[in-house]
């Protein structure tokens, strides 16, 4: 029995299909990456699993229970961090811990929060506000908040896409390290095939929208722990990468349909800068081509 099961899930907004016929089974303890172009409904997919959106058709089951709404059993790391700006790092995580474990003693909660702040190496910044942190640090707080809820499944929605390449690499290693500690089930959405291959057990491409659906999955049988420098030379890595990118590019080019549009040219005449500006009113405003009713031609 799969841990998370999506059965023929479709989602459309106002008649426009975004996701179509998505079926996906994820086992407990698996790390699955879903790769797709931007604007193909990746965030919609994760919002469906999180319960923030309801599917138009199909069903989503977590642990044999239908997903009907959001809940703390699914920890989510949002693309834009979504930290509350008036709370410090500590308070942001504490809010989550309090919500999930209402009957813990204050000391136990505090200890728990400290543990997760330490896990993402943010202890020196524990009393800072999100606005005082860099993008990478904010995202680490967001990861710590999701993990501190001790969710059954961790949903990562393009967690690193807003970061620069170097910070991104550091955080990828950190996510990999944290995951190897407790082997939680993870669904990660990303737009970077390399990131997916580096971190995941399975990688699934999302075809180009509208009406995106999942492509053939690829099992990443590279041994762990994976080293980002060595992996670049691995023949298997290159093969997976080529396969994935070829599929995605093909899916995009299949989408190339033609629409005939009316050609609209700019309706404005070049300004005559030689003419001296008039006193007070300045230069005359540029003329539109449609305004010119007559022309003088030397005969």
């Amino acid at each position: 029995m799969p841990f998370l099961e999506l059965k023929n899930v479709s989602k459309s907004f106002g008649g426009n299909p975004v996701l179509k016929d998505i079926s996906l089974n994820i086992e407990k303890g698996e790390f699955v990456a879903i790769v797709g172009f931007s604007g193909t409904g990746k965030t919609t997919l994760i919002s469906l699993i999180a319960g923030l959106l309801k599917p138009s058709h199909g069903s989503l089951m977590l642990n044999d229970l239908e997903i009907t709404g959001p809940g703390p059993d699914r920890g989510i790391v949002f693309q834009n961090y979504s930290l509350l700006p008036w709370l410090t790092v500590f308070e942001n995580i504490l809010l989550a811990v309090e919500a999930v474990n209402p009957n813990w003693t204050p000391d136990k909660r505090k200890e728990h929060v400290e543990k997760y702040i330490a896990m993402v190496n943010l202890t020196p910044a524990r009393n800072k506000l999100p606005s005082e942190l860099s993008g990478g640090m904010r995202q680490r707080v967001s990861v710590a908040r999701a993990l501190a809820m001790d969710p059954q499944i961790l949903l990562l929605d393009e967690p690193l896409s807003a970061l620069d390449a170097l910070t991104r690499a550091t955080l990828q290693d950190e996510i990999s390290r944290i995951w190897s500690q407790d082997r939680k089930t993870v669904v990660m959405i990303t737009n970077d095939p390399d990131e997916g291959i580096l971190l995941a057990d399975r990688i699934i491409p999302l075809t180009a929208g509208p009406g995106a659906t999942l492509g053939p999955e690829i099992t990443i049988d590279l041994p762990r722990p994976r080293d980002r420098k060595e992996i670049n030379h691995s023949a298997r890595f290159k093969e997976i990468r080529r396969e994935l990118i070829t599929f995605m590019l093909n899916s995009k080019s299949e989408r190339h349909t033609s629409i005939t549009k009316k050609l609209i040219l700019p309706d404005i005449e070049p300004e005559d800068l030689d003419r001296p500006p008039r006193f007070f009113t300045g230069r005359a405003r540029p003329k539109r081509a449609s305004e010119i009713k007559e022309e003088t031609v030397e005969a």
């Binding site: 999180a50 923030l52 979504s82």
Partner: protein
């Protein structure tokens, strides 16, 4: 070097030039077309006892200017507090519920532009049974009703402007209603609320003068009206300046508080 010194004191010098220009214009007006207008010098001479002894009490309507100001401020504080206590929750409901907005928004838009001069008689009628306190209660009612709207509308805008991300966090954590209110909704809309509070205070101070004039209560406005009736026009100018300065100080104070609460 010389230029630097000027740059350093121009915050003081330039406004003084403005004041001087107005004084000159005033003096010219006195000499030419407004013969009844007291000159700046005469105004100062006549107002002096009220300024050098700001807390003197010589009679019900003959008191130092700061004493009058103090009476007015107390009345404003009461009416303003009432406006915030009523206005903030109303604003929250407007921001949270579309139905509530549809029911009450037209009403608010119609009542909002009504002048304090129109509300005051209604206030007096409402509290006619209160006897001696009728004028105070009527004035409070007027201040509250007139100054409430900026708080109501800004709070509503603030609540509507809360980013979906913050609400998603509350949803994922399954926060209770009270917790969502105190941990997410209120902090997120606080900057807007304080802008409303500041505008409301400005209006409350504007209304007090009208309220005191009509009710004849001791205060800056009451004093102004009484001195007009006693033909002591110098004091009218004294009152105008006092009202302006106090209003300015209140606004500055509120904007300091407002900045303190900028959470985002």
């Amino acid at each position: 070097m010389k230029e630097n010194v000027f740059k350093k004191i121009d915050w003081l010098v330039l406004p003084l030039i403005g004041v001087a220009a107005v004084l000159i214009l005033w003096q010219i007006s006195c000499a030419t077309w407004a013969k009844d207008l007291p000159t700046p010098h005469k105004t100062w001479e006549t107002s002096k006892p009220y300024i050098v002894e700001p807390f003197a009490k010589r009679g019900e309507m003959d008191q130092g200017i700061l004493r009058f100001t103090w009476y007015s401020l107390i009345l404003v504080a009461k009416g303003y507090a009432l406006a915030l206590i009523i206005g903030t929750p109303v604003g929250f409901f407007l921001g949270l519920s579309k139905t509530f907005t549809k029911i009450f928004d037209p009403l608010i838009q119609v009542l909002r532009p009504v002048s304090p001069l129109a509300w005051l008689p209604l206030g007096l009628v409402l509290f006619m049974g209160a006897g001696k306190n009728a004028s105070e209660l009527g004035a409070l009612f007027t201040i509250a009703v007139c100054s409430m709207w900026p708080t109501v509308l800004n709070t509503a805008v603030g609540v509507r402007a809360i980013p979906q991300d913050y609400l998603n966090v509350a949803k994922v954590l399954k926060l209770s209603r009270t917790k969502t209110l105190f941990k997410v909704l209120i902090p997120a809309s606080l900057p807007y609320m304080f802008t409303g509070f500041r505008l409301s205070l400005g209006i409350a101070w504007l209304v007090i003068v009208a309220a005191e004039m009509l009710t004849g209560r001791p205060g800056v406005g009451g004093f102004l009206w009484q001195e007009y009736n006693s033909l002591i026009y110098e004091h009218i100018i004294l009152c105008i300046v006092t009202i302006g300065v106090v209003g300015f100080i209140l606004d500055r104070l509120m904007s300091v508080v407002e900045r303190r609460f900028k959470t985002i």
